[in-house]
């Protein structure tokens, strides 16, 4: 059943303090809406549980990307288009810029926001593995003050997050210490554009003399939350990229992920693709030194 707009409220306080006060006055009642690319889909289908929405699209503090010597801070309501166009994001955080380019078509990139992607917490969300691989930190804000949560602790279960009902994501900050890494991003879906992923990998690696000095692997759509493949990283670190190492990594990847059968794919297919993507990354990492 299509939603009846007369049953829903939408208020636009226009400044952060008033948004937070309203959210605190009736916790869990007010649903923040920025670009609406997730919220409006549920709303139109008549599946949105909340009846009260609060507009955060027009809050200036949430729309800025600020650069500091050691980190960048991305306002929660920055769009994928803004991420793609930002020089530091595309230069130093290519996995995030690539993930932004995967997300929907141009119209959805013009409206979809990074904070929305995190708060919606779909395990298939494109930007989440990139945030995990870059050690992001999330700043949550409420009338009670602000607190920082390491992104690796943000998702607590399927569609569950560490946010309290009165909290809003203010920004996501990324440390600027990954520009020396080789990066690899690949999303496998039914179609290149606008499809939801079956598996996606964001990976960073450092190699010298054929030996992996450091490696970070994160995957989406293979567990209830975006997953860091720590065991596979351990298998790889300090070792030379050889067929036997790639085989060992493949084995560990399939042990470490928890894929399921659903409308988009099967657990078996996902496991095969996940292991292929890690192998492809390792081949690229090895080749990066040969080519250099």
């Amino acid at each position: 059943m299509r939603a009846d707009p007369s049953e829903y409220k939408l208020v636009s306080p226009g400044n952060l303090q008033d948004v937070l006060s309203l959210m605190a006055s009736e916790p869990a009642q007010w649903l923040p809406i920025a670009g609406g690319t997730d919220v409006m889909v549920l709303y139109s289908a008549g599946k949105l549980p909340n009846r009260k929405l609060i507009n955060i699209w027009n809050i200036p503090e949430l729309r800025q990307i600020a650069a500091f010597p050691d980190r960048i801070r991305v306002g929660a309501a920055c769009t994928y288009t803004e991420l793609r166009q930002h020089e530091i994001v595309s230069g130093e955080f290519p996995l995030l810029a690539t993930a932004a380019s995967w997300t929907g078509g141009i119209a959805n990139q013009n409206r979809g926001t990074l904070g929305g992607n995190i708060a919606n917490a779909s395990p298939a969300a494109d930007s989440l593995p990139a945030l995990l691989v870059y050690d992001a930190e999330v700043t949550l804000i409420s009338v009670r003050g602000e607190r920082r949560v390491a992104y690796r602790h943000f998702h607590t279960g399927y569609k569950q997050t560490a946010m309290a009902p009165d909290e809003l994501i203010r920004d996501i900050s990324l440390p600027r210490r990954f520009s020396g890494y080789i990066s690899y991003a690949r999303k496998v879906g039914a179609r290149n554009a606008q499809a939801i992923s079956k598996v996606c990998l964001a990976a960073l690696g450092k190699i010298s003399n054929g030996t992996i000095r450091d490696v970070r692997l994160t995957m989406g759509s293979v567990a209830p939350v975006p997953l860091r493949l720590k065991e596979t990283e351990q298998v790889l670190t300090g070792n030379k990229i050889e067929p036997s190492l790639i085989a060992a990594a493949r084995k560990t990847v399939t042990k470490e992920i928890q894929p399921i059968d659903d409308i988009r794919s099967t657990a078996r297919y996902r496991a095969a693709v996940a292991s292929n993507l890690v192998a492809e990354f390792l081949e690229k990492l090895a080749a990066s030194e040969t080519n250099a």
């Binding site: 049953e7 409220k9 939408l10 670009g35 289908a45 549980p49 507009n55 119209a107 013009n110």
Partner: protein, 165 residues
């Protein structure tokens, strides 16, 4: 969390649509798509999927291509909106229209207003797009008739002619 349904109030929303100031008295959660079609009679903007996948309802909102089915009208207060009707006076209209006709870029026509708006949005940002740019720029617009090739060709042709001038 379910909050109890309560009736919300209609309010006045003002915006510029195709360079004319308009005021509508609507519920803020009405979709911009419905307000354009039902309140303002601008039926060139089509509804396809109603969930942001197909691009039939594309409009330019403050210069940005958006799916109007995903915009609550309450967020459009004070905005500058261009629909397909407003594109009729755009400098890109003639080359795009001619190229779509010549190349067979339109069949049933439901996707066409969205395709034209996505093409305008692309060509305004990138006057000389390559095929990859065009594919990306139109990736959010689905067509079930043409198979896309004629549409890509039409946008390529329009861009080339425009640049040649």
């Amino acid at each position: 969390m379910n909050s109890s349904p309560e009736t919300s109030a209609k309010c006045e929303i003002s915006f510029s649509v195709n360079a004319e100031v308009k005021s509508v008295f609507v519920y803020p959660m009405e979709r911009l798509l419905d307000v354009l079609r039902n309140d303002l009679g601008l039926t060139g903007t089509k509804e396809g999927c109603g969930e942001g996948e197909c691009g039939s309802c594309s409009v330019l909102l403050d210069g940005m291509l958006v799916n109007s089915c995903l915009v609550p009208v309450g967020q459009a207060n004070g905005a500058n909106i261009i629909t397909i009707e407003g594109i009729s006076t755009h400098v890109l209209m003639k080359p795009l229209q001619e190229a779509f006709l010549e190349c067979g870029g339109a069949q049933c026509g439901i996707c066409t207003p969205g395709m034209i708006l996505a093409a305008v949005h692309l060509l305004e940002k990138k006057p000389e797009p390559d095929l990859a740019d065009i594919r990306e720029g139109l990736a959010g617009n689905l067509c079930r008739c043409t198979g896309y090739m004629q549409i890509f060709e039409a946008v390529t042709t329009a861009a080339r002619r425009r640049v040649a001038k």
